[in-house]
């Protein structure tokens, strides 16, 4: 894990710091490149727009990072985003109809957000439960819940879009769309990203919980014998991932002022790429929130950069594929080099 490894180089610190910035370097290169390729690329506003797009898979990527650290994977994130968006949109436009009583309840904004987030957490719990209780492979479990969540999202409205989800003064459920607006020029999504990132990073680095999930990913058996509640913590992690996805779903719905059941299709891949580009190891036990955010920005910069250069979507696909692989390869090299230097440091230390 970037951070961790770095410390190792007692003496050769500055080289390490450089290496630590592995992916940061790649990001820098990309930014410089596009700044020349497209005149208006290097500008505050462009930065904000990219940040706004990045926020979405950044937040997802953080949840994903946690999951991958435990040695798992969560394919359901995109579908969960779609579902929670639909739940929110539905509650705003149609409220909650309790058939037997024949009444329709309209909730206030806080409740709407709470319920929609809860839906995500619930699916996350389901993932964790199936994975830990029946030890079904995470890939399959979340592939299954992905289908389930997507299906439910569509069933909520029978495939229709909830449009103009601004709520009504009368019902006191207005304001949802502010999740998509900017506050003091900073997109709400970006602010939320920062908040979640700070919390997630602290949890991971400064609390027993964080180290416990790192241990689970590193060696589940040893973790268990060290008295770590493997099942419980793993489940919590999937719940967190579900939560993040739900938030993303709401933000994206708010931005469009409309909730569409197909929202989030394929986003899981962006989230995973972000995490891995950020140095998270697919084999678990290694990963950092900071890295993931850098990873998310790499993806964002490629996407928007190429769009601004007017690259055809076909080439965009090809280039994206190449860059992702290349970035990870470079990352590998730097990591090995780091490990080497660590050993060196150690033996000099002797």
């Amino acid at each position: 894990m970037g951070k961790n490894r770095v410390k190792k180089a007692g003496n050769t610190n500055w080289v390490m710091t450089l290496l630590k910035g592995r992916t940061l370097l790649i990001l820098a290169v990309l930014v410089i490149f596009f700044s020349f390729a497209s005149p208006n690329f290097f500008a505050v506003n462009t930065g904000l727009t990219i940040a706004k797009h990045v926020a979405l898979y950044g937040i997802m990527g953080i949840g994903m990072t946690y999951v991958i650290i435990t040695g798992g994977i969560d394919l359901s994130v995109g579908a969960v985003a779609g579902l929670s968006g639909m739940v929110a949109g539905g509650l705003i436009n149609e409220g909650l109809t309790i058939a037997p009583l024949g009444v329709t309840v309209y909730f206030g904004l806080p409740w709407i957000i709470l319920i929609s987030a809860a839906v995500g957490v619930l699916i996350g719990w389901l993932n964790g439960f199936i994975i830990t209780r029946f030890n079904v492979a995470p890939f399959i479990t979340t592939l299954g819940t992905m289908n389930i969540a997507r299906g439910l999202a569509n069933l909520r409205s029978n495939g229709a879009t909830f449009s103009n989800i601004v709520g009504k003064e009368a019902l006191g459920n207005t304001g949802f769309n502010y999740l998509g607006k900017s506050i003091f020029g900073i997109p709400a999504g970006v602010i939320i990203l920062v908040l979640i990132a700070i919390v997630a990073a602290c949890l991971l680095k400064y609390t027993p919980f964080g180290w416990h999930i790192l241990a689970i990913g590193g060696n589940a058996k040893a973790a268990k014998l060290s008295g770590i509640k493997v099942e419980k913590n793993t489940t919590l992690v999937y719940m967190f991932s579900g939560f993040c996805s739900a938030i993303v779903g709401m933000i994206s719905a708010a931005q469009l002022v409309a909730a569409h059941p197909a929202t989030g299709e394929g986003w899981e891949m962006n989230a995973i790429s972000a995490a891995v580009l950020g140095g998270t190891s697919m084999s678990g036990g290694i990963g950092s929130v900071g890295g993931t955010i850098i990873g998310a920005f790499i993806i964002g910069v490629i996407n928007d950069g190429m769009t601004m250069c007017g690259v055809s979507e076909f080439w965009q696909k090809v280039i994206k594929g190449i860059v992702v692989i290349a970035a990870v390869i470079v990352d590998q090299f730097q990591r090995n080099l780091q490990a080497k230097m660590a050993l060196q440091a150690r033996n000099e230390g002797k």
Partner: protein, 514 residues
Amino acid sequence: MDKNVVLHAEGMNKIYPGTKALDNVSYDVLKGKVNVLIGENGAGKSTLMKLIAGIEQPTSGKMYMDGEEVAFKDTTEARAKGIGIIHQELSLFPNLNVYQNIFMGREQTTGRFKLDNKTHIAETNRVLEKLEHVMDPQTLAGDLRVGQQQMIEIARNFLQDDLKILIMDEPTSSLSEQEVEVLFRLMREFTEAGIAIVYISHRLEEIMRIGDNVTILRDGKYVARAEVKDIDVPWIVQQMVGEGKSYPKKDREIEWSKREKVLEVKNLTLPKSGGGYLLDNVNFNLKRGEILGIYGLMGAGRTEIFECIMGLRPEHTGEIYKDGKLLEIKSLRGQIDNGFAIVPEDRQAEGLVQTLSIGKNISLSSLEDYTKAGFIVKKKEDEQIDRQIKDIMIKVADKDLPILSLSGGNQQKVVIGKGILTNPDILLLDEPSRGIDIGAKTEVFDIINQYAERGVSILVISSELKEIVSIADRVIVLSNGVKTGEFVHEEVSEDQLVLSSYKGHGTKKSLKEN
């Protein structure tokens, strides 16, 4: 060159990033002899063998077999020259069965492609027969116990005809006297057939029995070579460590009868899947500050006792009392909170988190103790870690280095340190000295004693007689899940232990089995 030398290695160097694992070592392997290679953890034994077996390539240095120079770029090439190796770390395929494991990489085929499983199975049975370790060749390796797996590891190399050199890197680390006997007999057969054996072990008394000549390495350098008949254990230790060292002799004058029982196990019984018992009405107790040794043949059920106590075997029956109170064992975490700590048998698989630093591996079990408002207070944590490192003498440049940068012995100490940091009343150690050198071993025992003195009660499993005799205040012997003996320190003698360890086995056949 002497025609008794099958292989001569000249000026071997191996440099790993930052480590000089081997420093200009020259080495002769003598035909029809048991060539012993010893040295402390990290001395370079395995590295030298890896070079000879083609697993790694030397940074510099030449090797000669009957006169001509040889170089192996992988194990296949080495094998072609008649060099086989039994690896120090078990390297089996849990998902494959016994005969697949044995023949992996040396498959027999009918025609060019079709696997010849008839032969595979027949051969497997033959070899296992020889090893007196009969088992169903269809069994998945993953379902075997450590010891049995070690046997498979050994069996793999017994197939090779045209074998010239057999390297055995700590083959007995998880075998008990019984199996060791069998192994030694086979080794004799080999040497009589003119095959050269390179034998690595940390069990010095073994070496004195089986070895013909001894070569000693220290810090990657050649130190000395001698005929076994001209030397003794103290001499070896002298050469290995530099200054003399041996097992600590314990002289504790304690009226155990007056000491209160901290742990009382009554009628502990554990059914074996598919009939029979892993543990059959086992009773024993443990006093404050006492070191209770558990001896037994591999497969006797010792680890199971620990698993029951730690709540890993909910299906067990019988009562376990701590300080007189009956425990209802819920979870492993619960047991840790109840004041137990376990140091598991298999360091790599169950003891360490390889992705974490040395420090974190030490503090992992007790992180909650260093928190304030839910957050870890770095200072508190570091204090404890540093204290542990000092306390149990872990040789480490920087606690933030990856755990795997430590040698076997020090890794073991880390695992023990982790257990101790939960400051337990009762410490369970399963084979705490497996595969660590005498230096590290004595240190580990010092640690054990030191904590016993402080009033921690300790249960320690060991397959090594000398070790358990010297360290334990009292020893109980398990055989086939039955408790067959109990001896207090004064009266423990090695032969008594051996005797009792067979009591549990009825026929000669079943004795081979377990």
